[in-house]
Subunit: 239 residues, 2 copies
């Protein structure tokens, strides 16, 4: 280890090379926590590359939460690097099928109603009128996999009235018919109620992972869904 630094060879510097070199300097405390890094232009000279290339490298380090940049303020090594991890949450059918299991779906309940306050809490300042509530179970190999309790905004997505939610899950219908441009996600654990237990085929009082997702388009509410997973469900992310 420890070549890096200047671009001594005639080989052209790549932004990944520059990024790793700077990363290394941070790790070995050449640039310690709270330290200020040289200006992009100066680093570009050091590495014998264009300023754009340094910029590209810096953006990556910034996305990783390692540094902070501000115009005029310059670039700084973060005092307390945050851990940033990105999860991918696929469409449930796809997730099941990619595991080589058989996907199934069952509608449990559907009605137009006023969402309760704990659901409305996810809506921010959005004034909720009556919404379509859809409760359904996604199955993997004919056994409960995820139970979802969803509220769909009929004002934003009126066409869903025409959808046949016996056949196709609201999850998939929405993916095909209504994209979103903002997503709020909340994850927590809670004990399975007797109803949960019956639906999921587990014992009451089990610990369940709950995902609450609310999506928006153009500031307008699309849907808010609370997904309850089986006790053995895990979310996995890397770097």
């Amino acid at each position: 280890m420890g070549n890096d630094s200047q671009n001594r060879n005639n080989s052209r510097a790549t932004w990944i090379g520059v990024r790793d070199a700077i990363h290394a300097r941070i790790l070995c405390r050449d640039y310690g926590p709270g330290a200020r890094l040289p200006r992009d232009e100066e680093l570009a000279e050091q590495f014998g590359c264009a300023r754009t290339t340094v910029q590209r490298a810096m953006r990556d380090l910034q996305d990783k939460g390692l540094i902070e940049r501000r115009r005029k303020g310059g670039t700084w090594v973060r005092q307390h690097p945050v851990t940033r991890a990105t999860f991918e949450i696929p469409v449930i059918r796809q997730e099941v099928e990619e595991k080589g299991r058989t996907y199934g779906y069952q509608l449990v309940h559907q009605e137009v109603a006023q969402p309760p306050l704990d659901v409305q809490a996810n809506f921010g300042s959005w004034a909720a009128g009556p919404m379509l509530q859809v409760q359904a179970i996604h199955l993997a190999d004919h056994r409960p996999y995820v139970y979802e309790d969803r509220w769909v905004c009929l004002q934003t997505v009126p066409d869903i009235r025409e959808a046949d939610l016996q056949r196709e899950s609201a999850n998939e219908w929405l993916v095909r018919h209504q994209h979103y441009d903002r997503l709020d996600l909340r994850i927590y654990a809670r004990k399975a109620t007797e109803r949960d237990a019956g639906l999921m085929g587990i014992a009451g009082g089990e610990a369940l992972l709950v995902l609450e997702r609310t999506t928006w388009i153009d500031q307008r509410l699309i849907t808010s869904v609370r997904s309850i997973t089986r006790p053995d469900y895990q979310l996995v992310a890397s770097t």
Copy 2:
């Protein structure tokens, strides 16, 4: 809505403008799921900007999971857009103090031992020797907030033997002395054992959110920690 498309004004196109215009075309199904987008160069002509600018816009859409790009293959709208959400997991002291609460810390147990198999499962092919086990509680306003059960690799981080873990948590010591370049994260729910309950000051059988983090540097294991949070703990992310 709905101007966009060509850059009719003399105003210079920004990559954000280009991104939003393309995003809009995807939303309104000008480019529907599975459709192929024009080549970057052609889009650049359409928008009256440089190809670099289109690239920048495309990278953003790609990061959001909306499109796929391949050399020679071109750019495609994803059939099933994945939901990508990024969490920030701060140093616990900081998290507590930012909420305006008083941070506290208490060491529960510390010894050198062989990690059990369920911990080693996080190590991949890494052959674990004896490691330093550190169990500790983080407090907020003098009440249990997070309990962590940590294993530190003495081979990779020998200096931690010198640390005074009565005073400073291994969490903070490691943040200051040992950066990582890879992180694996696993999140799930589990019932509180009697021991958990006693430590966290809650009832047995409560549902707890568990975070397992394993970090690495240069392919070498640094630490693996299982953090148990209070039942009311939530992870929150926004697109």
